[in-house]
Symmetry: C2
Subunit: 408 residues, 2 copies
């Protein structure tokens, strides 16, 4: 079949499957996103493996013009999560976010330190060296911002006090995770002097700071007047064209210039556009096709890239690391949120934030389940399995290189 026909058929099936599964999931009192990811697992290599069916197989022969279906789906999924985080950014209540900022920061801090330490200890227990252990721990610090955001939006809790804290902490967590990961890589992987490793980490922090300040400044000062000019232009959808270009440029700059995840950039663009007077119009324009086309592809794609059967052999380790990861996050975030002023129940809710569970699973399933920002690192068990036995301190064996990004 022609590549474009494959894409059309595939997207149609994915859209129907994802909405059907989401519906079923919400009938059982679960968030729709849970069903959508599950549908992806069913369609993926774990069970049906539809990308390998004859009708979806790459056409052999002289066709050089088109990309193969799997690559196209990956790209659409990554555009999907970037748009999803943009919508989440627009939904964010900046005032509430500022009020809970301190709690969110400490919750994120606790959610980084405890999983890092306990992950390293757990890996050490299973016979890996401390170098690999800390890498494992660094992987466990990551939070799936996109799944957290989606679940909060479904629960209509994104603008609540808890919702703001959770999302704020998830975003801060992503940034902290990158710093931790670059620390681990720098000090475990560098053959050179410690000073060079320190300089590398410093450079990561400088790039981040520059990106965030510049992006914030530009957005606050120019988005409103630029959008106002755009609406008056005599072409079709001028405002939306400006928004699409700005969001994609922010996402690009976040990863390419700032060294953080692309979705962090589109989230920031969303927060900034959410402050303009065009917020409602932009949301009405972006939401329909994003949630009927791109986002279903993103959630289904998570399952398509994961193979549950691959980890069956490592089951004891998987379950143990899963337990450590979940407990580490719940206790780490919860305790720090409690210490910094949340009441007991709120703090527990913070620890048990949605996305934490799903995300653990995603990461443990290995390098396939990656966001648009995970091109350069290798995650979870897959990394440990590929490592050269225990005791080595060569982080290069983990295939970490280039600017590390946080998971989508």
């Amino acid at each position: 079949m022609n590549p474009i026909l494959q894409v059309l058929l595939f997207v149609a099936l994915v859209t129907l499957a994802s909405k059907g599964a989401g519906l079923l999931s919400s009938r059982f009192g679960q968030p729709a996103v849970f069903g959508e990811i599950l549908a992806g697992l069913v369609l993926g290599p774990s069970l049906l493996n539809i990308l390998n069916w004859g009708i979806f197989a790459p056409r052999s022969g002289i066709e050089g013009l088109h990309a193969d279906l799997s690559g196209v789906v990956q790209t659409l999924a990554e555009i999907g999560v970037i748009l999803l985080m943009f919508v989440a950014g627009m939904e964010t209540d900046l005032g509430e976010m500022r009020r809970v900022g301190r709690v969110a920061f400490w919750a994120a801090f606790g959610g980084v330190i405890l999983p890092l330490g306990s992950g390293a200890a757990a890996a050490h227990l299973f016979g890996y060296g401390w170098g690999e252990g800390f890498f494992m721990g660094a992987v466990l610090t990551a939070t799936s911002v996109s799944i957290s955001a989606q679940t909060l939006m479904e629960l209509k809790a994104l603008r609540s006090k808890e919702g703001s804290t959770i999302l704020g902490a998830a975003v801060i967590d992503d940034v902290m995770g990158i710093i931790v990961l670059s620390l681990v890589v720098a000090f475990a992987g560098h053959a050179g002097p410690q000073r060079a490793a320190g300089a590398a980490v410093l450079w990561v922090c400088v790039r981040m700071t520059l990106f965030f300040s510049l992006a914030w400044f530009v957005g606050r000062r120019y988005f409103e007047p630029a959008a106002a000019v755009a609406t008056r232009l005599g072409v079709s959808e001028p405002l939306m064209a400006f928004v699409v270009a700005a969001v994609f440029l922010y996402a690009w700059a976040a990863e390419y210039l700032g060294g953080v995840a692309a979705i962090t950039g589109s989230y920031l663009a969303g927060v900034l556009f959410g402050q303009t007077s065009f917020k409602e119009r932009i949301d009405r324009g972006v939401h329909p096709l994003t949630y009927s086309f791109f986002v279903p592809v993103f959630f289904i794609n998570i399952g398509l890239r994961a193979d549950v059967r691959q980890i069956a052999g490592d089951l004891p380790l998987v379950l143990f690391v899963l337990a450590v990861a979940v407990l580490g996050k719940v206790i780490g975030c919860g305790a720090c949120a409690w210490l910094s002023g949340f009441r007991y129940r709120e703090a527990l809710r913070r620890g048990l934030r949605p996305g934490a569970w799903h995300h653990r699973c995603r990461h443990l399933l290995g390098d396939g389940a990656r966001g648009p920002d995970h091109h350069d690192d290798h995650a979870g068990l897959a990394a440990l399995r590929h490592s050269p036995g225990a005791g080595g301190r060569d982080a290069g064996a983990f295939r970490v290189g280039g600017p590390p990004g946080a998971p989508g």
Copy 2:
């Protein structure tokens, strides 16, 4: 750069370039689409060749997960034209279309017969055999429905009497063109008996008829109730998800089952959804991202796939064929529209329909400038240039095979 970062940067640039060029074009009193295609030519291999710039070059190495930028852009462009034709279908005034149906049919007929004959004669004049000549003529019968539709929508003339005739004729023309092309291929290319060639052409007609009747029946009977059910489902954007799935399935079925162009399928889906009571809501949902993201990529991509410099050597032939093509269409459509009841000025307008000129250019630029339905045939001068000299009757040399499709 990571593949997804390339896509983000590229789409942002394309969106800005296309809207800027469209704006400039409308300042000069031209349709915006003219400027957008021109911008594509400037960015393409004719001048700047941005897809070959270092930042957009495919990343060499182990990255197997992603498609290269060029393939992704091609796919996004093809989704773009499918959505564009869906919007055009929803805009179509079915009552007016029915009233002008007879005129549209004869205009399309004239616009197929005269270019076919004069194209064959012109090629013969330049020393090609009649077999190649008729293939050349068959190529000239094609009309760019998408550009016609877009220009009519910009002029807000799609629902007028002339607009309905033009678009109706363009769609009929596409279907007629496929029949003519399959006739030419069957009788010029078949080594076997004439009866087999006749059966092949008959099969093309049967598939078309089956597809159109079934698609019409399903859409008329089930789109309204199914959309009504969808709106009540408790997932995000259920109506839009249903529409996206239906449009993509119609586009897929049109080409895969019906043997016509995928855009004909999405146009038909648009006409059918335009009859439902959800028309306004669907249009509000589809239009913003379609015209800020997908359609700019489509129009820019036309230019990206064409290389003006390649045809510089054949300039006399190019200009002559261009003149024959334009005159053939204008006189053929105009005369038949006049004969079947249009007044003189209307008939001339019909002959000089927008899109005809652009389309001629697209086709003469060769096989690069193709719609989502041109995977299997090879168009225009490129075909003639690749043919084995004059006089041969082997249509296989034109690389025509599989179900031929009409241009986008």
